[in-house]
């Protein structure tokens, strides 16, 4: 059963068109990667979904058209966007960040349970629970960003470059936690990642973007080691 479906989606920043026609679909509980070189339109594809860029084409979530919806509206439908650069609320404490994540929820008990789960998933956050987010390390901020998104109890997680700026071992640890989150929660994921090898540890299928278009789509096993992948990243 398809959860998210993009059909021929275009997007532009002012007069500059960045997406020329991207199509992809994420099944319920599935994990799909978006790969490609810098400027290929990976981040913009996520932004088109969460409603932070002007878009054309068709975007449906759970059968409902969401193209052009405001970001908070999209979030309320069950899509949590972990933006590039993490987007943690810098002056708020770790606990407050996580509480903001659960803003739309009313089920106090379940929120408390999820908070415990979140701290179990990212034990580093437990020690920093009262620190301001700005004081965290890059890896901890990334964990907080994922944790905040999880606290919304979404059906789909949009994950943008979770490894960006992290030491390789930290990036691996973050991905390990996200893998565990996927297994235990069944949340569907759409994952933008520069580091293709890291992405393949998490996703089932992936699509490769080049200058705002899909050029290749396949299962992770098929795509691993293909020339197109290397070419897409080197921009050749």
């Amino acid at each position: 059963m398809t959860l998210l479906e993009l059909t021929d989606v275009t997007a532009s920043y002012g007069p500059v068109r960045v997406l020329e026609g991207v199509s992809l679909s994420v099944p319920e509980g599935g994990a799909v990667g978006i790969l490609g070189a810098n400027g290929a339109g990976k981040t913009t594809t996520l932004r088109a979904i969460s409603g932070t860029v002007r878009t054309g084409g068709r975007i449906t979530f759970d059968g409902r058209n969401i193209r052009g919806s405001r970001p908070d509206k999209v979030a309320s439908l069950g899509i949590a966007h972990v933006p590039e650069g993490r987007g943690t609320l810098a002056q708020l404490s770790v606990r407050e960040n996580l509480r903001v994540g659960a803003y739309l929820r009313k089920d106090r008990k379940a929120i408390a349970t999820d908070l415990d789960y979140c701290l179990d998933l990212f034990p580093q956050l437990k020690d920093r629970i009262n620190s301001r987010a700005a004081a965290l390390s890059g890896g901890e901020q990334q964990m907080l960003a994922v944790g905040r998104a999880f606290m919304a109890k979404p059906r789909l997680l949009l994950l943008d470059e979770a490894s960006l700026g992290l030491a390789p071992s930290t990036a691996k640890a973050v991905y390990a936690a996200i893998r565990r989150l996927r297994q235990e929660s069944g949340i569907a994921m759409l994952v933008v990642e520069q580091n293709a090898n890291l992405a393949f540890t998490l996703v089932d299928t992936a699509t490769v973007l080049e200058t705002g278009r899909n050029v290749l789509t396949g299962s992770a096993d098929e795509l691993k080691g293909m020339d197109e992948i290397r070419r897409a990243y080197l921009g050749g």
């Binding site: 969460s50 932070t52 405001r70 970001p71 908070d72 979030a75 309320s76 949590a80 966007h81 972990v82 933006p83 987007g87 943690t88 609320l89 810098a90 002056q91 708020l92 407050e96 509480r99 903001v100 994540g101 803003y103 739309l104 700005a134 890059g138 905040r148 998104a149 919304a152």
Partner: protein, 293 residues
């Protein structure tokens, strides 16, 4: 000694007025990152609205409360229909728009009520009490206590409620807050509304002392901005303490430093700002903003 106590208490009272206005400015700054230069003018308009209610025969307290509610709506409307267009653009443009708003609102107040001084009835009795041998006006004490109470309520709102958390989240990073489903636009309206309501209280408390004129808050705005900078822009407590310091210091300096007198006392807070910012650029209570790349 009794002159000294009198001066300090009166200074606290005028400082409290600056504090209320300064808190309103901090509120908007926290929510939108810009300084609303029209905050003083909006407070004057609110005071005129309260005045109109008292003229219609309503009790003073009720008039002020009604003005606070109307001002809340006014602030929210100003955000929604005017500032919203400028929030995502160049912050300098937005600040210039607030200066335009300052002129516009002052003009509206003058057009509706004229430039003549109007006598605004005092909320508090005009009697005085004796403290440690000094004669202190009840109004000064009551004004100070009112502002302290408001500050505590604001602090509780921001630190203990879900609305406060949401307001702080939006102030911190609006686009990121939206990803968690926060209705950013509506929360910004609430922030502006709260600020305008606070301004209404400041305007109504200071009006009996200064008498109501369209330019009543001009000087207070200058002091309030001084308090905001001195307090560190992000700290409500710091802002109030700074405003009190300014109020007390200008009173003391006017009396005890002969060459300053009443004409030069407006310079006092700025000398204070200069000295403090040289030592602590982030203000007395502010946090250094560290940008992580």
């Amino acid at each position: 000694m009794d002159t000294f106590i009198q001066l300090v208490v009166d200074g606290l009272s005028t400082g409290s007025i600056y504090a209320a206005l300064a808190l309103a400015i901090v509120l908007v700054n926290q929510a939108t990152g810009l300084i609303n230069f029209a905050q003083g003018a909006m407070a004057v308009l609110s005071a005129y609205i309260a005045y109109a209610f008292t003229q219609a025969g309503l009790p003073v307290l009720l008039s002020i409360l009604l003005a606070v509610v109307i001002s809340f709506v006014m602030g929210a409307v100003v955000e929604r229909f005017l500032m919203r267009r400028f929030e995502r653009g160049d912050p300098d443009t937005a600040v210039v728009v607030t200066i335009g708003l300052l002129t516009l609102i002052t003009g509206i107040a003058a057009w509706l009520w004229g430039y003549n001084n109007r006598q605004f009835p005092s909320l508090f009795p005009l009697s005085s009490v004796e403290i440690l041998g000094a004669v202190v006006s009840v109004r000064s004490i009551a004004t100070t206590l009112t502002i302290v109470a408001i500050m505590i309520v604001l602090q509780l709102l921001f630190l203990r409620t879900k609305l406060g958390l949401a307001l702080r989240a939006v102030a911190d990073n609006p686009s990121s807050a939206a990803f968690s489903g926060l209705p950013v636009g509506r929360l910004l309206m609430v922030g502006w509304g709260l600020a305008a309501g606070l301004g209404a209280i400041a305007g109504s408390l200071v009006a009996p002392q200064l008498t109501l004129t369209p330019g009543m808050m001009d000087t207070a705005l200058v002091y309030a901005l001084a308090a905001v900078i001195l307090g560190g822009l992000s700290s409500p407590l710091g802002t109030v303490v700074a405003a009190w310091m300014i109020g007390i210091l200008e009173n003391l300096a006017a009396v005890y430093v002969p060459f300053i007198g009443h004409d030069l006392k407006i310079a006092v807070p700025f000398i204070l700002i200069f000295v403090i910012l040289v030592v602590r650029p982030q203000g007395l209570f502010g946090r250094k903003v560290v940008v992580r790349v």
